[in-house]
Amino acid sequence: MSQLTSRRGLLFGTAAVSAGALLTACTSNESKDEKPAANDQPAADDKPGKQVTVGFAGPQADHGWLNAINENAKSRAKKYSDVTLEITEGSNDTAAQIGQIETLINKKVDVLVILPADGKALTQVGLKAMRAGIPVINLDRIFNTPQAYRCWIGGDNYGMGFNAGHYIGEKLKDTADARVVELAGIDNLELTKQRTQGFDDALKNYPNIKKVARQAADFTVESGQAKMSQLLQAQSKIDAVWNHDDDQGVGALRAIEQAGRDEFLMVGGAGALSAFQAIKQDNGVLKATVLYPPTMAASAIDLARALGQSKGVGGLAEYEIPTSITLYSAVVDKDNIDQYMSTGFR
């Protein structure tokens, strides 16, 4: 009996070890055509100046777009011989992020770039940095007060919704009684409300179009698939879908495929590489996506460098960089896809 047990144990052990080895090999995600998701735009073409140390603090990169933010910042900093990037590990916990930023303040970095997990909650630490004489570039999620940052740069959620609505409106303006559905993002985020508001405002210009349904997913593939399949079941015929986020769009496209539906066009949001590729191939419902460009992180590095070297922004007449820069949410479709392909994030 005991002999049997031990042989069984041995077999099991061997199996476990070899399975473990196989599994370990399987964590690799390197593929042959891997290329860092970043921008190809030229860096500022001036001569290297004084050395600038830029501190960068963002939330946990648990989502494609946030991960692209980090990568954009890193690869941009690498292009400048006079920029040193101090990047913290991301955190979604307000207290933890405050701690990380305070560490950067104590290290006396020259400029701080902060993408707060929660803009309102991190206002105080932004103020603290400013008072300590460290200029802050506030990225995307805005602080409570302009005193907490030297410059804010971020996306335009309202504009994103508006441009998506405008694009769909133009495509459907000749369709009588057009029916549109909206697959929103996490509903308790303000940006979701803004995107929906912009979308609704744009559709008001097209009396023939009616938004017949809206469901909120939560930026995950899983929720995108679940919510989209319910939407399709609820609406037997639609003309267009606007989806707030390309990550959940992967699931939404899967649901559309599973339901065997193709009578409508779909517009995505954010600018993921997979979405770009689908748009370029043009063999599915996804016809366009509205950018919420992660390249803003690269621009933030440019701004930080300029601040550190007391320069303005090239191409503008100003001696100082502006206080606030709102990015344009461009619509990317088949016509201009090649221009944006390299900015697509995974």
Binding site: L23, N29, H63, G64, Q215, A216, E222, E257, Q258
Partner: protein, 339 residues
């Protein structure tokens, strides 16, 4: 004082035979008040759905949709039911689903094709369950803490593997399983897997020594130990089983979403626990019902479906979901106490 306010156990209780009976009779006998009231709740939901959206709700495709959406969380809930019946808890199920789904969809794993993905998903689930089980059964850790630790590390590892990116699946054999061409007699393959897991789960819990030992450990671990049951080994197997269910669920999720993502399985632990408890499994252990758990899952999925079909927004959905949980439990308690 509250413990004395409840009706006394002992001779004043109604005598309910619980022994083995012929299968059909035992099914009737086991369809106790609790299960019947759950069926009542589900029926009421069907009526609501049928009245508000007759065309969209009462439709084969919608039935397929609801059952498909229930499959992933349903498989997880079957495993969870075993763990809770044994007096334990597994908070790591969602994280294990996430880790299995991303580990099984890396570029390297996908090189091994269909079998590689399936094998990896299941093995990662079992591996995580093994760690949980060893920590709890032989390391003496409280299940709540051990599985909470697993939740954190598995999510972290999943994030590390994906780097926050969505991993698209390119294997046709897997993708096809989620599409209409693969339906067997109108039944989606995912639903078939769910049904098979449910039936096996029911049989194991009600008809095998393993199930009996699970109930004994949950009902009174000390008595089980003194009766000569190897309580620790049983606990190890139970967390292993829960991990296995998570691995299977992860594979189903890969089929369903055509991808792996580290955010998968978000809050599965709460959904699975809620479904099991609503179904009639005692959170303190000693009584478990697979039928009830599956009904609990179906009730949740049907609610979500009806809300989506009626285009109600998530705020309303959440409020109503909470209210329905409370109502379902109250209805059960009332009907259980008046008979």
């Amino acid at each position: 004082m509250t413990q004395h306010a409840s009706p006394p156990r002992g001779s004043t209780d109604k005598v309910q035979p619980v022994g083995p009976l012929p299968v059909w009779r035992s099914l009737v006998a086991r369809a106790d008040v609790r299960t019947l009231s759950l069926l009542g709740v589900l029926l009421a939901l069907v009526v609501v759905g049928g009245i508000t959206k007759p065309d969209e709700f009462l439709d084969t495709r919608n039935l397929q949709l609801v059952l498909t959406q229930a499959s992933v969380i349903g498989v997880v809930t079957v495993g969870m039911t075993f763990v809770i019946t044994s007096g334990g808890i597994d908070l790591s199920v969602g994280a294990i689903v996430a880790l299995s789904s991303v580990w099984a969809t890396t570029v390297a794993t996908q090189d091994f094709g269909f079998a590689g993905v399936l094998f990896t998903a299941v093995l990662v689930g079992v591996g995580c369950g093994l760690v949980n089980g060893v920590l709890i059964a032989y390391g003496g850790m409280v299940p709540f803490i051990a599985t909470l630790a697993m939740l954190a590390s598995a999510r972290g590892l999943a994030l590390q593997i994906t780097d926050g990116k969505t991993q698209i699946v390119n294997i046709d054999g897997i993708l096809k399983l989620g599409e209409r061409d693969s339906y067997v007699l109108g039944i989606p393959p995912l639903v078939l897997v769910f049904a098979v897991v449910t039936i096996i789960g029911w049989l194991v819990l009600n008809r095998t020594t393993f199930g009996r030992r699970t109930v004994a450990v949950g009902g009174n671990a000390e008595a089980a130990r003194l009766a000569g049951i190897d309580v620790r080994r049983q606990r190890l197997y139970l967390y292993l089983l829960s991990g296995l269910c998570c691995g299977i669920a992860a594979f189903l999720l890969i089929i369903l979403s055509g991808s792996g993502q580290n955010t998968n399985g978000n809050l599965y632990e709460l959904d699975a626990i809620a479904a099991a408890i609503i179904g009639g499994t005692l959170l303190s252990g000693g009584r478990g019902t697979i039928t009830g758990s599956v009904l609990g899952v179906l009730i949740f999925t049907t609610i979500t479906n009806i809300f989506a079909l009626n285009n109600l927004q998530s705020d309303v959905q959440q409020i109503a979901k909470g209210a329905i949980i409370v109502a379902a439990v109250l209805v059960q308690r009332r009907t259980a106490s008046t008979t």
